[in-house]
Amino acid sequence: MPDAKITLEQVLHVAMLARLTLSDDEAREMQAQLDAILGYMEGLDELDVSDVPPTLHSIPMDAPMRSDVPERCSDRSETLAQAPESEAGGYAVPLVLEVDS
């Protein structure tokens, strides 16, 4: 796709950031779909929005707030039981090596 709005490299980069493994065919399919989406969005450029304030959120409302009062937490044994593995009250995941200090 020589005139694509998104390169195959960009597609693969975004896939890597999302930890998605794409085959060559899938990557090309994604490129075509994303290209169509970006092309559709380009249509918006025809509008003059210089006088329109930026939309901060799709629903026009202010964030409801919560007062700073502690509530009951979940039962730890129940939530831990839903994890594939747990140990000593912690969720066990494959060892993440940080820098050796």
């Binding site: 959120h57 009951r72 937490c73 140990e87």
Partner: protein, 487 residues
């Protein structure tokens, strides 16, 4: 050889002292068993929705006001996307394009000169969970989500700092301000005040910045200074040997005494921020901002200035007494009570209380974060100094009484009565003692008569010894001079 100038900017993450997390009602209390303080929101279970904590937002506004920022009427939470086991959602809720506070500053003093350090922004975000590596079976990392979701502010400075000393002064002052306004407990060891430093160097006179290294997770003021100094020297070494500095994340290793590269984080900066669709904009009205401004406690610098002008303290004394918010409060309470009881002028009272607190009280004070434990109540100090003021005891005895107060927890007047420490102001009794001593020391009396009037110190010492320090020194001096001149 080219001379280089360091350019440093700091990013500080400070935990805010709310009782609950930023987006759920789980307690933020430190030290609970792993994962006891979790719920569907902070574990990111499907369908759970975040609701901002009003108190946390308002603490962040107060931090912004204390640091002279512009507070945004509308700020927006954004998702910062990356994968790490300490982040259950796969993103951290933070603020990006529209932070709560921006364009502030903090004035620091280095080598007697004042320097204004710009603050780019202060935004609100949630803390990550804690990973414990290799604590259980050696092949796993254990994740504790108790800290996950704790409210933080990230304070980003402009690249205005030019030395490790300036960086340290900035951090100390910043911590001071946040502690005095009650936003943060200033506890570096427990990780509630954390610092990352962006360090680069450039040839002196060059406008353009050099390539920077980001120093992560430095958890003491001493390490900050050492890490930055080391990093500056390392980069100079690289450039002088014809190399180039690469942009990377490094960490300080106290064991090795140097900064080391954290490999494999090259892609980590591609966070793909976007506004969080779960969270509408946070609105803080101008009226509310003004209420929060009015409710701000006095900042440490203003306090020190006031103490110098109103209470007659030196800059040094004001610094010592304002090193911790609770010590400052203690000193002020004791001074107010002392003024009420003794009808002293504030300048005199402030000095007296300040000296006593520094010389005697401070070494018994134990601080832990924002908490402080004092050996006796401020009212007891006012009462004790009142006893010195009205002549019941002298300054030397006051120290003895204070030691008893610390030991027994009893009131100063009770201790003075029980131990018979009231000073002898009965001139008759003192005169009797003075006569006895003069009779027993004919050679010293002769020396005095020969003009060696300094020998009077010897007599004063003898009288104080005989009265176990309880004689009023002024009375002793008067009586001694009179009787010696009569001889």
């Amino acid at each position: 050889m080219t001379a280089y100038e360091p350019v440093i900017g700091l990013e500080v993450h400070a935990q805010m002292r709310s009782r609950t997390k930023l987006f759920c009602g789980c307690p933020t209390e430190y030290g609970a068993p792993p994962n006891e303080h979790t719920c569907p929101v902070c574990l990111a279970l499907p369908g759970a929705l975040p609701v901002p904590n009003k108190k946390a937002i308002e603490l962040a506004v107060q931090a912004g006001l204390a640091l002279e920022c512009e507070v945004a009427s509308h700020s927006v939470f954004a998702r910062k996307n990356y994968f790490y086991p300490d982040l259950p959602k796969g993103y951290q809720i933070s603020q990006f394009e529209l932070p709560l506070n921006r364009k502030g500053h903090l004035d620091i003093e280095v080598d007697g000169a004042t320097k204004r350090v710009g603050i780019t922004r202060i935004h609100v975000e949630e803390d990550a969970a804690k990973n414990i590596h290799g604590a259980g079976s050696s092949a796993v990392t254990l994740v504790d989500f108790n800290r996950g979701g704790t409210p933080l502010i990230e304070i980003v400075s402009e690249p205005d700092l030019r030395s490790a000393d300036e960086a340290e002064a900035y951090l100390r002052k910043l911590r001071d301000v946040l502690m005095f306004i009650g936003v943060n407990d200033g506890n570096l060891e427990e990780g509630s005040f954390r610092c990352d430093a962006n360090v680069s160097i450039r040839p002196v006179g060059q406008e353009e910045f050099g390539t920077r290294a980001e120093l992560k997770n430095i958890n003491s003021f001493r390490f900050v200074k050492k890490a930055i100094e080391h990093e500056i020297a390392r980069q100079e070494g690289v450039l002088q040997s014809g190399g180039t500095v690469v942009q990377e994340t490094r960490t300080w290793s106290e064991g090795q005494g140097k900064t080391i590269s954290m490999r494999g984080k090259e892609e980590a900066h591609d966070y793909r921020y976007f506004p969080d669709p779960d969270l509408p904009p946070v609105v803080v009205t101008e009226d509310r901002v003004e209420e929060l401004r009015a409710a701000l406690p006095e900042l440490p610098e203003a306090k020190r200035r006031r103490w110098r002008t109103e209470l007659g303290l030196t800059e040094y004394d004001a610094g010592v007494l304002s090193a911790h918010p609770e010590v400052a409060k203690y000193f002020e309470e004791a001074t107010t009570l002392f003024i009420e009881q003794s009808a002293k002028k504030p300048k005199e009272a402030g000095k007296k209380v300040g000296n006593f607190v520094q010389a005697e009280v401070l070494r018994h004070v134990v601080t832990d974060g924002l908490e402080a434990l004092f050996p006796v109540a401020p009212g007891a100090i006012a009462e004790l100094l009142g006893c010195v003021e009205d002549g019941t005891i002298n300054g030397k005895i006051a120290k003895k009484v204070f030691a008893s107060m610390v030991e027994t927890g009893r009131a100063p007047k009770a201790i003075i009565d029980e131990q018979g420490l009231a000073q002898v102001t009965d001139t008759g009794a003192i005169e009797e003692e003075v006569r006895r001593i003069l009779d027993a020391s004919p050679s010293q009396v002769a020396q005095y008569k020969d003009g060696k009037t300094n020998i009077i110190g010897y007599f004063v010492g003898q009288v104080m010894k005989a009265t176990k320090g309880a004689a009023n020194p002024k009375a002793v001096n008067e009586i001694l001079r009179r009787l010696l001149d009569e001889q």
